[in-house]
Amino acid sequence: MSTEDKVQKVMREGREILSTKTSDDFLKFMERNIIEIEKKDKLVESVILWNFVAEAMENMGETDIVAYAYSKLISRYLLLEDLPKAEEIYNLSMEKELTSFHLDTVRTIFERRKHSPSNREIIKIHKMDIFGDLDIIPASPSTYFESAALVRRYIHNNLPKGTYSVTVLNHKNKSKEDIEISTEDLVEYEVISMEEIVRID
């Protein structure tokens, strides 16, 4: 059977599964077949099938599976070196506010591959003291970062060891986010903890 026929057959059988079984069964069936096709380096066919999965699942309102399919599509377009197509899916996933672990991973890979302009700025840094209180320390303004991961790396490399809460302004969508990060060397302890609030008149 040619690969083209195989793709048609998988889509046909996929539709049948959709009408009789659950979305998870459909995804399992499709993924198993796509892996087989990809093993033969047939990435174009893989993209056709992932598009089919995304469309079918969107119609059924299965956003988790759509997010998964989009992550596969972005990564496959990247493997095919088709950056405009990857960007198209990337933008669609942002518009639809889809999120999942794998989609976030692939989007970060895409952003880095595309060298998207820096858009995050640290505007506030708080350091945690021994009591868990956050004290503000001077931030370094006008340093821009491409992603939250790079903000983390900056904290690791440029600040003394400690636990920080960093407020980052994303200039692209004007939103603020707080990143909690500890750069301490942590050791495993059996911790006996006692806390008291007392009154002295």
Partner: protein
Amino acid sequence: MAEQKTIWGSTRYFIKIEPYTNVFGTSMSGMVSFYDTHGLINELECKNLQEVVKAVNDFWSTILAPHETRVARWIEEYLTETGVTADYNLLLRLLRAEELLAEDLEDLIASTKEVETETFEEAFETNEYNKIIGHEITVTKLPEDEYLRKELLQKLIDDNRYMVPKKVKSRSQFKLTNGEVKTTEEENLLGFGETLKDVTLTSGIKNVYDDKITEVEIIDEMPYCFEIENISIQNLEIDPKKEKKDKVLEIIWEIPELLPQEEVKINYQLSKRINRTILEIMENEVIAVLNTFENINLTGLEFVARLKYLNIHNRQLQELHIVDDLPPEFTIIKTKPEALPPTGIVEKVKLKGINVRWAQKNVRAGQTVDKEYVLDYFPYLFRGKKVVQDKDGRTLFKLAKFIKSSEREMGYTIMYVIKNIRGDIDEFISLADKIPGDHTIVKKYPENAQIMEQTDDTGNKILTWIAEPPVAGKLNTVEVQISGDTPPTFDLFQVYVGDKTEADVLEKESSVTREMVKTP
């Protein structure tokens, strides 16, 4: 320490796996992190090996075309480099998503029933008020497939491992003056004692009625995972009866009468035991599962546990599996015989503790399998914090005390910290703290810190640190190194501002947990 490793066939993408246990198996959990040359891309905490291999494979197939055998080989090599002996075939099997696990295994278990264990208790020389809990499991067929067989045995062990409760049930019954019989039931939280090994429990009853109550009976359902070291009942000279039940030892108190508003408090000092799970595999698909509870004894400066096993069946066992779960407060110094894979494995699970697994084939009828553990405390940290408020509820100071363990003969270090929140008090602050009478201050930092030593009526030493309050928002710290060959006392200090001391405790909370922390 786990390192990043390049994905084969790529120069810019890396993966790091941090396993939470040193023992390879399907239950191996851990953190998987993905990097490129810019740094971290994303990371995922995985609950088991299947999730670990899926995370690696998903990331791998984002960068390159899928290649299960290469991924399995890569993970095997990675884990071996971090000191975990991995199995390529199992990794490949999980990658190919053969869903052999949970549901299928459940189908293999035909029946489970409780069994009498008196003969085991006699053979294992179990103490009078200790118990062995026994089950007999029949499986439809022991799988011939090596992995399925391993998984099934692991499942039987995991399903039957004893879970240490956090609370202890207490029931009571009494008669009102009108003859009506009332019953109550409550769960009492276990607390921690003066040393890491100790656990405390308080139960009791208060007569809330306007008349006396009579024929009061309190039954505390003590789990067998605790050894009772000491029992006391306030203001009464009675001894309890003890009755062994299947799952708990009932401590029964009979009090003739209680006057209105009279309260009785019962205090238990308990000690944690090693929880042992034994799997005896007979030939005919019948598996006996035993839970035993083993004492840990202080011998000189060491904690020692001696665990006995005897094959009381009048035939050879095909296989014997034993898992000893140590209380998380302990770590292993030595095992006798030495735990050497594959027959003896010491598993260290991140944030959970240590267990020792033994496996032996063809155990003869009447054969004994004895083990001995020499234990020490797992590195501990005492973290005590006190917030001092004025009568209007405004926070004046925050104070902390940290105790860090050193080598046993070296003693320990206590650090005290004062943080001035408002900065409008300039009176001296004093922290009065108790240490065992035979412990001695060896060093303090800063050397000019004012610390007084006194001995109280009970023979304990009272250390009083007198300090000027730091400026608002700042910390004042002193560190004291103490020598002593017994553990420190885990308790908070008393605070004085000028000549005023604590008028009231508004809130109090305590816990013992395994944590990843920065050493103060």
